[in-house]
Symmetry: C2
């Protein structure tokens, strides 16, 4: 048995679980740190991730396919060995990047033809290709290849797209089953998560959720959110969709989000999250604290000898002042970005630990309320 | 007594010594890691420096005066507290940067007027200003304010410049004596090192060395080398000048250099070095090894699963392959630069440790010969 999801506790709809994989056990709710090109942006190494309390990280199939190439990563023993990370890794399908980064896309039933954002060369990716690439990367969890239509796309387009995404899911499942049986596959226990789509059309979403749930996959994601719709629309979709996904499987809300988004989504039954906010904001000197977000470029921190957040034990707060980090950022010293990213990843991972603790202790609603009052609700 | 230089051993002209300061004892020969703007470029933190075996670091007076400002650094408790480094720090005088970075310079007996390279504003710096700034920075060792004439400048210009640099040294000494007596000075034990100049004119150099040696300062530097002359010219200057500096004081060769330069200079009696090569080269993927320098962008490292240097215990080599680091560099991930800089600083600091050991054991000539045969002589 290559994976096992154990629901330890429910508090309202919030789930506290553990997810066992061949690469280690993940305590959920969990935040996956984003290592797009097999590296966390901001000069953060995998041993830093350990110190931060990171349990699982995400890498991007599209980026690694384009550079250095998934065949190279396979030769190096897969993405985990390549970047020296012995915990679980989830790879996305490449679909989102194909639809957001690449140019001159052409979508057909077989898959998508597009131009690489690095060198412009023409690439074809369909469900089979995405599985083959992810199999080469040897991640713990592979994501199904899907189309992520714009949040506000027309109903007719979304319906046709979701139907195709379902057909693609069946092809992904068959192809990964085949790949996992091959002798020389990097990770023969690679797991497939299906992805629910449907933009903000709740009936399309729930019908699709019912269909993919029947496939009894190891986990399910909700995709196509945080791409232009309001937070209220996002929460409404979660309210509608999560009850249509199996309770005894991990639910992953892709690309989300702010601390407030995560707190709300956990309250609706979500287990897994990933988001570039902590690293991207960190690189711009925006740091999360229990009082809300600070912009360290602000002049008022010029001679502030306090840490980013008092009491924080992260590598930045335990050693450096706001004044010093502000100076580094202004002098464009990479160390400034590294310290802010380390702090933000620490903040996110420790928020998740606090969330797990609150669910364990049956006080999640109260915990969420306290956090939202302290942070505010929009701290992306 | 704020400092004490103890000559432990001589092996030919090579000196093995220890230099005690109020901020800790330095074992020499030593390489000072360059933290220009109170940060090591390449996202390297002061705790990384400790792991690398760094004993002392250098910060740049000109850069810190321009940004964030030495008054701010003083408010934050001095540069050591500001960047959280509890070992010794040497600050340069700002002179070299004034003459190399700033524009529209005007040199007078009082000092130099120039325009900031950051915002263009007009700044005046003379011996007193340089000492005041360095006093605000609170470094362990302050360098005298000097003019660094071009290596190939005309004799007449160099003579006049060196005479002025001598008069500036007297003013530096008097001003630092005054500042060290003030109640609210950050480091009242701040030491002054004089700087020998004279381009490649050996008679001007030795006469000047004799004059500054009589001042009985805590240490002496040789400046104005590695600025355009050949390596042979540099070594000839060292052959001429070092015997004119006191043997019982540290001798610091400023801004030098390649591993080969350091090996040759130690053999001529130099104690202290600093150079941007390891960090600058690291940021460009050029890494030092016992076999010579490697360019990790080279295609031949694409699937090379060996560390940068086999047997190396640095944070890069102990965790990552050449193939992975090459990928990071090509993908412009900051982590690639950080790993290469960490490796190079490790290489330099461990080279110095090996040099000290070889002198201790009376086999320095042999050690130098082995290294030069292994590295080649020009590995900047």
């Amino acid at each position: 048995m290559a994976n096992k999801y154990t629901l330890l506790k429910k508090d309202g709809l919030a789930k506290r679980a553990e997810f066992e994989t061949v690469h280690g056990t993940v305590q959920t709710p969990v935040f996956m740190n984003v290592g797009t090109a097999a590296a966390i942006k901001g000069a953060v190494d995998t041993d830093d991730l350990k110190n931060i309390g990171c349990q699982i990280q995400l890498s991007n199939t599209y980026h690694l396919h384009v550079r250095p190439g998934d065949e190279l990563v396979r030769k190096m023993g897969g993405v985990r060995k390549f970047m020296n990370w012995d915990g679980p890794v989830l790879t996305d399908s490449g679909g989102f990047q194909v639809f957001s980064l690449a140019s001159l896309r052409k979508i057909k039933e077989e898959g998508v033809t597009f131009n690489s954002h690095v060198d412009g060369r023409k690439i074809f990716m369909g469900p089979e290709e995405s599985m083959q690439i992810q199999s080469n990367l040897g991640s713990t969890i592979a994501m199904a290849f899907d189309e992520c239509p714009p949040a506000l796309a027309e109903r007719k387009y979304v319906k046709a797209s979701v139907d195709r995404t379902y057909r693609w899911l069946l092809r992904c499942r068959d192809e990964l089953d085949r790949l996992n049986l091959l002798e020389d596959t990097v990770n023969r226990d690679q797991l497939l998560f299906g992805i629910n789509q449907g933009a903000i059309y709740e009936d399309i979403r729930t019908e699709h959720a019912d269909m993919i749930s029947e496939l009894d996959l190891p986990g399910y994601a909700i995709g196509g959110l945080a791409v232009g719709e309001s937070h209220e629309q996002m929460y409404a979709v979660l309210d509608a969709v999560v009850p249509h996904l199996p309770e005894n499987k991990p639910v992953y809300l892709m690309g989300v989000g702010t601390p407030a988004n995560i707190l709300e989504a956990v309250d609706r039954g979500v287990d897994f999250f990933d988001c570039v906010y902590p690293s991207r904001n960190g690189r711009h000197g925006h740091v999360y604290t229990k009082y809300g977000k600070l912009n360290l470029f602000n002049q008022k921190f010029e001679t502030d000898d306090k840490p980013i957040e008092d009491g924080c034990q992260c590598p930045a707060c335990s050693r450096h002042s706001r004044a010093y980090i502000r100076h580094l950022l202004k002098a464009k010293e990479m160390l400034g970005m590294r310290l802010c990213v380390l702090h933000n990843l620490w903040f996110y991972n420790h928020l998740m630990a606090d969330i797990r603790c609150a669910i364990d202790e049956g006080r999640y609603k109260e915990f969420k309320k306290e956090c939202l009052e302290a942070y505010g609700t929009d701290t992306k």
